[in-house]
């Protein structure tokens, strides 16, 4: 359908539209007009992605003199694929209605592992070796050597791509990773480098958060994006964590040992070069004297990770004299590693700020702040000079240099925490030194500064006023949308007691209680017997899930559960989990029905949809609080309190509840879908906890569903399922329309949509 939002003609690929999608587009459009950032919360299952894509592409179409690029960030590769598939649908619609005028180029960008088509490289086991395998075939010096000696292996796909030169371009269209691979195979061009190259010309780029947020990666991939871009962070409820992770480094014993090996290797290389090709080292020295840490234009394949510090904070000065000579630099690194080893020997937990750490480093190892700051760039330069190709062998020293650069650059927002062992397993010594970032606004700041509009959107951004504080920005639009329902297709419940009226909870003192474990098990058995198709269960942690499944097995409850449905479980092994998910879907498809056990904050909770028959019920066992004794968490809480005046308790509850809401929100994909959500913990009945849930869940949480026991929940579930099985009118009753046709949209004036907002 086609309709008008103010001065923009929107092309929407479906015959109908939800009113909230229209309202969402309207707000988004206003934010784009204002050239500002915005924060939009819309319930899952209301078609955020397609609304967003169609508005932005239509916006570009209606303003041809001002081409806006869309940078769409997803958290996972499968979300990237989903987004691209939706975009493809939209693009097909637009090209049939508008012709070639609406043709765009959209590419997804991922790692070499997901894009490589070279069978020899792919045969390698894990990702790091795909990267290294690629470099071994494509690095500039390898190719130079191969030009002299044709027996040396090179990558035929890359060679072909290079030969095609500037004519190697993607024709307009939407390319998923799969499409890119297929196109690359067909043309014989390397899809990875082709995509990397096309990113700067594409109208829409879809990639992972890190490509924009992690300065190490963003420096290479995203440095050429123009200011007139719209950046979208989808499913952004965890964005603060991504930001923090991007600037955090941890050093363990293995890292230091590896770094030592790396240093030895480098020293040997240096000796070798000194003997054979001393000119090379001298040339590097001269370059450094001139103040060029980076060696001008590198070949495409030689790019390394950029500096881990944020672009604004990198000094544009010459490398300090004491590390210009290769052997001196190696020596400095040696001292650094030695110092870190000494620090790891501690028996107590130590916590200090970067300033204190640097000054202590200066006194003990004689390395000053400025030297630290240049570590990464200097290492980079040295590695290139030494022509080291198997970079995955040198990851450890790289980590050390990252650490050094970060600690030398930042004085606030970070802390250094040394723990001799994990508190949950005090018998296993595993010392770790962590440089952890506490301030999410640091990493995202360059993005807000650089791009004209940044859209942060998710199904759960409640409380919506917290995100601007955490990320330190000022949105021009900050809205939370309701879900208009044709029928009450979601049914949240809070279960506080088992059938025996004893409270259930995963509180630390209760979680291993036999009665609680049994009551949780009975709940699942009963539900499995009445709910059709798929059920998803979320637990608070892997260890808790492992324990509870084993005790269910021992007391026979697991057998009862399996009498009704097959059981699949998320494990920490991603391959296994992926296959389990695949089988889970198969079981739901074939009608056998299945239960998926998963973990809040796990990979599955983060991005897998359990829509339609893949999830008719979600049970959240317990409140997924973080491990509150974690030193890093405590340090972060302290920082948040001091800097942003956010209370510890508030933040913990907010964090736990956003995870819970995220878990249960995965059941709804559209309004034709339906699902139940059970929050099984007595703590959810407390107002301070519950009120942190997003509005669209709260508005369906009836007062009578706030304090249920298993049998009451069972009764409600039966009623609900029966009600949902009835045929219904998709367009909604006469009172409020929940599905708008083109005429409806045309008739409605903008004023009518204010009711969609909270």
């Amino acid at each position: 359908m086609k309709f008008q939002i103010e001065d923009v003609t929107v092309y929407f690929p479906y015959d109908h539209i939800y009113p909230e999608q229209y309202a969402y587009m309207l707000e988004l459009k206003r934010a784009l007009d204002a050239k500002g950032h915005c924060l939009l919360e819309m319930p899952t299952g209301t078609g955020k992605t397609i609304a967003l894509l169609s508005l932005i592409t239509s916006y570009v179409l209606s303003k041809p003199h001002n081409p806006v690029k869309l940078i769409y960030c997803t958290r996972t590769v499968h979300e990237m694929e989903k987004t691209l598939a939706e975009l493809k649908l939209l693009h097909n619609y637009q090209t049939t209605h508008l012709g070639d005028r609406s043709k765009i180029l959209a590419v997804g960008l991922s790692s070499r592992k997901n894009l490589c088509v070279n069978p020899r490289v792919l045969a390698a086991e894990n990702r790091d070796s795909v990267d290294a395998g690629c470099r071994r075939l494509t690095a500039s010096w390898v190719r130079a050597a191969a030009a002299a000696n044709p027996n040396l292996p090179t990558c035929e796909f890359f060679e072909e791509y290079e030969r095609a030169g500037s004519s190697a371009v993607l024709p307009p269209g939407v390319y998923t990773l799969q499409d890119l691979r297929a196109y690359g195979k067909k043309k014989g061009w390397c899809p990875y480098f082709l995509a990397r190259h096309m990113v700067q010309f594409a109208n829409v780029v879809v990639y992972s958060y890190q490509y924009l947020l992690d300065p190490k990666v963003a420096g290479i991939i995203s440095k050429e994006m123009q200011r007139e871009s719209v950046v979208v962070f989808d499913e952004a409820h965890n964005i603060d964590n991504v930001c923090i992770e991007a600037l955090s480094v941890s050093v363990r014993r293995q890292t230091l040992e590896g770094a030592r090996r790396n240093l030895n290797k480098m020293r040997q290389e240096i000796e070798k070069f000194k003997a054979t090709d001393a000119g090379r080292l001298r040339a590097e020295y001269n370059r450094l004297v001139e103040g060029l840490a980076q060696r001008g234009n590198l070949a495409l394949t030689d790019t390394w990770l950029s500096n881990p510090a944020l672009p604004d904070d990198i000094l544009k000065e010459a490398v300090p004299g004491n590390i210009r000579r290769a052997e001196h630099f190696v020596h400095v690194l040696r001292r650094l590693v030695q110092y870190l080893e000494g620090r790891l020997e501690t028996e107590n937990v130590e916590k200090e700020g970067p300033v204190a750490f640097v000054s202590s480093l200066n006194t003990h190892a004689g390395i000053d702040q400025k030297t630290l700051k240049f570590c990464y760039d200097r290492l980079h330069s040295l590695m290139l000079t030494l022509e080291i190709t198997d970079t995955d062998e040198f990851l450890h020293i790289q980590t050390i240099c990252d650490f050094a650069t970060l600690v030398g650059t930042y004085t606030r927002g970070f802390s250094i925490i040394i723990e001799p062992f994990d508190e949950r397993m005090p018998h296993i010594p595993d010392p770790v030194l962590q440089l952890s970032c506490h301030d999410a606004s640091l990493a995202i700041k360059p993005v807000f500064d650089r791009f004209q509009s940044v859209v942060i959107t998710s199904g759960t951004l409640s409380p919506i006023d917290l995100y601007p504080r955490l990320l330190n920005f000022h949105p021009v639009v900050s809205r939370s949308f309701k879900m208009s329902l044709t029928r009450d297709c979601i049914c949240p419940m809070v279960l506080t007691r088992g059938s025996d009226q004893l409270p259930v909870s995963t509180k630390f003192d209760m979680r291993s209680d036999k009665g609680v474990v049994r009551n949780y098990g009975r709940l699942l058995v009963e539900m499995a017997s009445i709910v059709p198709d798929g059920i998803v269960c979320f637990f608070v942690s892997y260890s808790y899930m492992d324990g509870i499944v084993n005790s269910w097995n021992e007391n026979g409850l697991l057998k009862d559960i399996m009498q009704h449905k097959l059981v699949f479980i998320e494990t920490q092994d991603v391959v296994e989990t992926t296959l389990a998910l695949d089988n889970y879907r198969k079981a739901c498809d074939c009608g056998r029905g299945a239960i998926f056990f998963s973990v809040a904050r796990g990979k599955v909770a983060e991005g897998i949809d359990f829509d339609r028959h893949y999830g008719r019920l979600v049970i959240m066992f317990g409140v997924p609080f973080q491990y509150t004794l974690s030193k890093i968490l405590l340090a972060r809480l302290e920082y948040l309190r001091d800097t942003f005046q956010i209370k510890e308790g508030d933040f913990l509850t907010f964090d736990a509840l956003r995870q819970a809401a995220q878990c249960v929100g995965r059941v709804i994909r559209s309004k034709a879908d339906y699902g139940m959500m059970i929050f099984a913990d007595k703590r959810y009945s407390r107002h301070d906890k519950r009120s942190k849930l997003p509005g669209w869940i709260l508005s369906h949480l009836r007062d009578s569903h706030l304090n249920l026991s298993t049998d009451m929940a069972l009764h409600i579930a039966r009623e609900f399922l029966r009600k949902m099985a009835q045929p219904y009118d998709k367009a909604g009753g006469s009172s409020s329309k929940t599905l708008l046709s083109q005429e409806d949209v045309e008739k409605m004036s903008d004023g009518n949509f204010n009711e969609m907002l909270y």
């Binding site: 479906y14 015959d15 939800y18 499968h78 694929e81 989903k82 598939a85 939706e86 991922s110 790692s111 592992k113 997901n114 990702r127 990267d131 992972s208 890190q210 190490k216 990666v217 991939i221 991007a246 955090s248 941890s250 990770l305 990851l395 450890h396 790289q398 980590t399 723990e419 949950r424 397993m425 962590q434 260890s543 499944v549 009498q563 449905k565 097959l566 699949f568 479980i569 494990t571 920490q572 391959v575 992926t578 296959l579 998910l581 089988n583 074939c590 056998r592 299945a594 904050r601 599955v604 949809d609 973080q626 491990y627 509150t628 030193k631 890093i632 968490l633 994909r669 559209s670 879908d673």
Partner: protein, 594 residues
């Protein structure tokens, strides 16, 4: 082999709750005898299977004791409690068999001559099929008894209305294999007795097969080792030892043992076949759930970046990974195997053959596996309710041929009719028929005044009316059953029929069909609503004007004075069609006159 004779210890009870009298229950081909242990007791039961109408029993796993309840023809019942559920199972099967046989005997004695006299040309196969159907379906058997033996219908007439049963059933029942139980893994695990701390392994042919299916490495090892290197018994002993080590969850001990005994190592190490299979499968997995693809998608995955020991992250003990196959992994594996189903079709007696067949089927499944990744992704991304539906692989609920619909409603109609008879007001419908009629009438007049718009009828109204209409049309047909070639619709005036077929054709069942019917009614004013021979129908206006009568609503509940049916207990209501037709005609005349 079925047993001809069965003796079990049981308690006789008069009610399910009471304590009961212990004794011995003896069942033979056609008799049930119960002798109490206490010879002085007067309770002694001796009944014929023929006098038993049916049975009920408690389900295994329920909280009730194993009870069987034999219901007598003359009313009353015998309840027996068994010592355990397996006894109950055996007994139940016996009862089922015996009941079927006594039923068969009944038909055999009374049925054959009748059939023979009416339809000489019937093939024996056809006969057998009918017999079988009658045996399987007691409801049908009763009807048959009533009509055919009561000389109301001839044999061919009786079967003519049930053509579908005759040709559908037998051909569809192809050989179906029973799949694995969802909890099959629990069968392959040892039983642990916590009191004596004893582990019991129970290996049957079935469990061996399941073990092979679950653990390709064990199956491979079996093929390699047995019988060249060790006997089958040794093999399974080794296997049990390995399982024991697993059970103890002591990875260290397992590692130590495996180091000493290389055969044991096979059972303890990770399954290579599974691992390679996983690698292969991961390439085919639906991209929308491929978590594996994310692994290190942050351009350059560095170790030790990000927060290592955060409160939200988990910790694992990484030592002896090799020997730590977890129960959770086993559960996932069992899910996979259960979904694959039984891939082989050989006798389970010989484990070697089973293992070979499995190995082969595994290779075949590799070859036949297809890719449907792309298709699935595109389906996943679309929002189903925002656009017109896709062409589904299944047929949507949709009345293609109204004839089919009305025919299929026949059984329902009969049933509801009975319910109606028993008490119209009990229906879950919140409207009574008068109200429904009122609505219908106002709707019709509205339509007549304004034409048909996208007008909604209240669902309850719609439901009541549609039920009334369907039932009547269908039951009319049923009661006209004598002439099977003529469907109800054929009896309607031609134009009406066309209209009905036309309008109801492309509509789905709910909401809109009632509009269609309203159009139909208001256009033609002809409804073949009344029972029996009355095909002229009644003018709707007249109906509406009908003096305080219940109007269309009266279709559901027979009006007062309607001749009762003596045989309604059996579920059919056609004993006195002539009487009823007479009544209806009179009633109809009243309407027409009014």
């Amino acid at each position: 082999m079925e047993t001809r004779h069965l003796i079990k210890r049981a308690k006789y009870k008069t009610t399910a709750k009471g304590s009961g009298i212990p004794g011995v229950l003896e069942m033979t081909k056609n008799k049930i005898v119960f002798k109490p242990n206490d010879p002085t007791s007067v309770t002694m039961i001796n009944v014929d299977f023929r006098s038993i109408k049916g049975h009920k029993n408690t389900k295994e796993g329920s909280s009730n004791p194993p009870l069987i309840n034999l219901i007598l023809d003359q009313g009353g019942s015998y309840i027996f409690e068994f010592e355990n559920f397996s006894d109950l199972q055996v007994c139940r099967e016996f009862v089922v068999n015996s009941l079927a046989k006594s039923g068969e005997g009944l038909i055999a004695t009374s049925d054959r001559p009748v059939v023979a006299s009416h339809d000489e040309q019937l093939s024996t196969a056809e006969m057998e099929l009918r017999m079988k159907l009658l045996q399987e379906n007691s409801e049908l058997q009763k009807l048959h008894k009533q009509f055919v033996l009561g000389n109301i219908l001839t044999e061919s007439e009786f079967w003519a209305t049930r053509k579908k049963l005759l040709d559908g059933d037998s051909s569809q029942k192809s050989k179906q294999q029973i799949g694995f139980k969802s909890s099959m893994i629990l069968d392959t695990l040892p039983l642990h007795d916590a009191r004596t701390n004893k582990l019991t392994f129970n290996l049957t042919q079935e469990t061996k097969y399941q073990i092979f299916a679950l653990k390709p490495a064990v199956q491979q090892a079996f093929l390699n080792l047995v019988p060249n290197k060790m006997t089958e018994k040794d093999f399974w002993t080794k296997y049990c030892r390995a399982e024991l080590l697993h059970f103890k969850r002591n990875a260290m001990a397992a590692a130590a043992e495996a180091a000493e005994d290389e055969d044991l190592f096979i059972f303890l190490k990770d399954d290579d076949i599974l691992a390679s299979e996983a690698r292969r499968k991961i390439r085919r997995v639906d991209p929308t759930l491929d978590i594996e693809a994310d692994q290190g998608d942050d351009y350059m995955h560095l170790p030790d970046h990000g927060i290592f020991r955060d409160g939200s992250k988990e910790i694992t003990e990484s030592q002896h990974e090799l020997y730590r196959r977890t129960f959770l992994q086993d559960l996932n594996r069992q899910g996979e195997v259960v979904l694959e189903g039984r891939t082989i079709d050989v006798e389970l007696d010989n484990p070697t053959k089973v293992a070979e067949a499995l190995a082969q089927s595994r290779q075949e499944s590799d070859a036949t596996a297809k890719e449907e990744r792309l298709y699935r992704t595109s389906r996943m991304t679309e929002m189903e309710d925002l656009q017109a539906p896709h062409d589904h692989p299944f047929a949507p609920l949709f009345i293609k041929d109204p004839r089919d619909y009305f025919d299929s409603q026949q059984a329902n109609a009969l049933k509801t009719y009975d319910d109606t008879r028993a008490g119209t007001e009990q229906l879950s419908c919140s409207l009574n028929t008068e109200e429904a009629y009122g609505f219908l009438r106002s709707s019709i007049s509205e339509i007549k005044a304004m034409g048909l718009s996208a007008h909604m009828v209240r669902p309850e109204v719609a439901l009541t009316v549609i039920n009334g209409l369907t039932q009547n049309i269908s039951s009319t047909k049923y009661q006209l059953g004598k002439n099977v070639h003529e469907s109800v619709l054929d009896r309607l005036p031609n134009t009406t029929k066309e209209e009905l077929l036309h309008v109801s054709g492309p509509l789905d069942i709910h909401s809109r069909i009632i509009e269609a019917l309203l159009v139909f009614i208001s256009n033609h004013y002809v409804v073949s609503l009344c029972q029996g021979e009355q095909t002229e129908g009644s003018h709707v206006k007249n109906l509406s004007a009908a003096r305080g009568n219940k109007g269309i609503g009266s279709l559901r509940a027979p009006p007062a004075g309607f001749p009762p049916c003596s045989s309604y207990a059996s579920g059919s209501r056609c004993c006195f069609p002539t009487l009823r037709v007479g009544f209806t005609e009179e009633n109809g005349k009243g309407w027409r006159e009014a």
